[in-house]
């Protein structure tokens, strides 16, 4: 079902953990739908993401996209991080099964939520960053009986 890269990031997720006094933290998804992602960011005075940690409750794809997203974001500036979309994460993972695409959306959303928290705490306006929705759904395929 999953690519080798997904399996690798799932079984050895990078940057799992918590952070004391993060610059920003964001939690998205909801337990009802089976996916929750939390991202902690440590951002320095040059807007560079020095460290990132995540925690995820969710399926294999959710864990792997969280892990990959943290890798892609770490060391980037805030503006660079904003350009990392769910597509970039999916590509970096060599793709996801169609029913799992919503997981990659969640990863993008979680980073944005953490950045929003950072911006709010520091009274910054980050161009292109919108207030995160708390929940990310995918359009469901029409069921034919």
């Amino acid at each position: 079902m999953y690519s080798e890269k997904v399996m690798d990031h799932f079984s050895n997720p990078r940057n799992v953990g918590e952070m004391e006094n993060p610059s920003g933290v964001g939690t998205v998804g909801n337990a009802k739908c089976g996916d929750i992602m939390r991202i902690y960011l440590d951002i320095d005075e040059n807007s560079v993401i020095q460290d990132i940690k995540f925690k995820t409750f969710g399926c294999g794809a959710a864990v792997a996209t969280s892990s990959m997203a943290t890798e892609l974001v770490k060391g980037k500036t805030v503006n660079e991080a904003l350009k990392i979309t769910n597509r970039s994460v999916m590509e970096a993972l060599d793709g996801l099964p169609p029913v799992k695409i919503h997981c990659s959306l969640l990863a993008e959303e979680a980073i944005h939520a953490a950045l929003w928290d950072y911006a709010t705490k520091n009274n910054l306006v980050i161009e292109g960053l919108k207030k995160p929705k708390s929940d990310v759904h995918e359009e469901e395929e029409e069921l034919v009986y």
């Binding site: 079984s11 799992v16 918590e18 337990a31 925690k55 409750f57 399926c59 794809a61 169609p98």
Partner: protein, 395 residues
């Protein structure tokens, strides 16, 4: 462990070697079409007839009342759709339960879109349907009650005899999806007042793609698949002779070993159950502890999600199943787990283990060890667990 540990016998089973052995001659030697006139083909006809006899006997039915189908799903569809059509002059109301298999639920929904009315009876927290509600919901227009014999996810066994009596007292037909129960429990359709019963071979170490519908004589039931005159003109299509023969063989073996198998399964299951419940915190067993199939366990591990758990178990060579939405690509977790009142986030963290008498104690103990390790690993990664622990520490 090097070898695969298969704990998903409710999904499908390994076909018994004796069953394959029984099937083989019907592919390349006795391949005749039972409907043909010549002697060579009548060997197939006689064989099918004997298989039907053996299967009828296993549920105390009469031979002509067993109709072979392509599996449990077709049997469920047939029973429900054809009854709805045949009895539409009497009424348009069907009663089922909230936690039936999709083969029943989606067929009922199909009928709802065609003007039928369906009542979905509640299930209590132990996974047993509400008999009082069932009685109260019967109307003059009720034509069918369809309630499963044992649930496929949580293994709970329903009060079939009582349901059969209620149906009889109210002159309503009673169909039961016995796909999970058949040859695992003793079933006597006469004693239990069952009018129709669905079964499937691949759940009992028989081949995939074959099942049957029992239809008690006297029931006005139309055919569902139209065409040739096979199965007493009720189920058209060239008979699947090898699979029918394999099915009967699997039934024969299972019926002869039902007692030992159950004992062995209970022994293994109880080890598994006790160890998991005592060694993994924040864990619950779904479904009644006693009124359940001897080979079924269904746990919810708080704070984690089922698919992740399945994949990690898979990496340890353990095959299991989950009621997590993510395993099916849906957003909602299993309707069965929701029907017994589990909150979504708990339902997502469920694990179904369905063993068979061929599993070993060693496999079971290894499985528990792995569950412990993996659940902890996933909890360490879970924001829900993090929040929970923080909250506890603040107290």
């Amino acid at each position: 462990m090097e070898n695969k540990i298969y704990l998903d016998n409710a999904a499908t089973t390994k076909v018994r070697p004796e069953v394959v052995e029984t099937m083989l001659p019907y592919f390349t030697e006795q391949y005749g079409n039972p409907s043909s006139v010549y002697e060579f083909a009548s060997q197939s006809k006689i064989a099918v007839d004997e298989a039907r006899e053996a299967i009828a006997k296993s549920i105390n039915a009469d031979k002509p009342d067993i109709y072979f189908t392509s599996g449990g799903t077709e049997a469920d569809n047939w029973a429900i759709v054809a009854t709805a059509e045949a009895y539409k002059d009497k009424g348009n109301h069907i009663i089922t339960s909230k936690f039936e298999h999709h083969a029943v639920l989606h067929t009922c929904e199909y009928l709802e879109r065609r003007g039928y009315e369906v009542t979905y009876i509640d299930v209590n927290e132990n996974g047993i349907i509400d008999l009082d509600q069932l009685k109260n919901e019967i109307r003059p227009t009720t034509i069918l009650i369809t309630i499963m014999f044992a649930n496929n996810e949580i293994g709970t066994i329903q009060p079939i005899k009582e349901i059969g009596q209620i149906a009889k007292d109210n002159n309503v037909l009673f169909h039961t999806d016995a796909v999970q129960a058949y040859t695992h429990l003793d079933i006597d359709v006469k004693d239990l007042n069952i009018d129709m019963l669905s079964a499937s071979a691949h759940k009992l170490k028989g081949p995939k793609g074959i099942g049957f519908l029992y239809i008690r004589k006297g029931i006005k039931n139309r055919s569902f698949i139209h065409g040739g005159a096979q199965e007493r003109r009720r189920r058209a299509g060239t008979e699947n002779v090898p699979s029918i023969m394999g099915f009967a063989k699997a039934v024969e073996i299972n019926m002869a070993t039902i007692k030992e198998r159950t004992e062995k399964e209970l022994e293994l299951r109880n080890i598994l159950m006790k160890r998991v419940l005592s060694e993994v915190p924040f864990t619950r067993l779904n479904g009644d502890k006693n009124r359940r199939l001897s080979n079924n366990l269904n746990f919810s591990f708080q704070f984690i999600e089922g698919e992740s758990l399945l994949i990690m178990l898979d990496m340890k060579n353990i095959c299991a199943s989950s009621g997590s939405a993510c395993t099916s690509g849906a957003l909602d977790p299993s309707h069965v787990l929701l029907s017994i009142g589990l909150p979504h986030e708990i339902a997502h963290g469920s694990l179904r283990l369905t063993l068979c008498e061929e599993n070993t104690e060693e496999e079971i103990n290894y499985t528990v060890d792995m569950i412990k390790e993996i659940v902890q690993k996933l909890r360490d990664m879970s924001p829900l667990y993090e929040d929970f622990i923080k909250k506890q520490n603040r107290r």
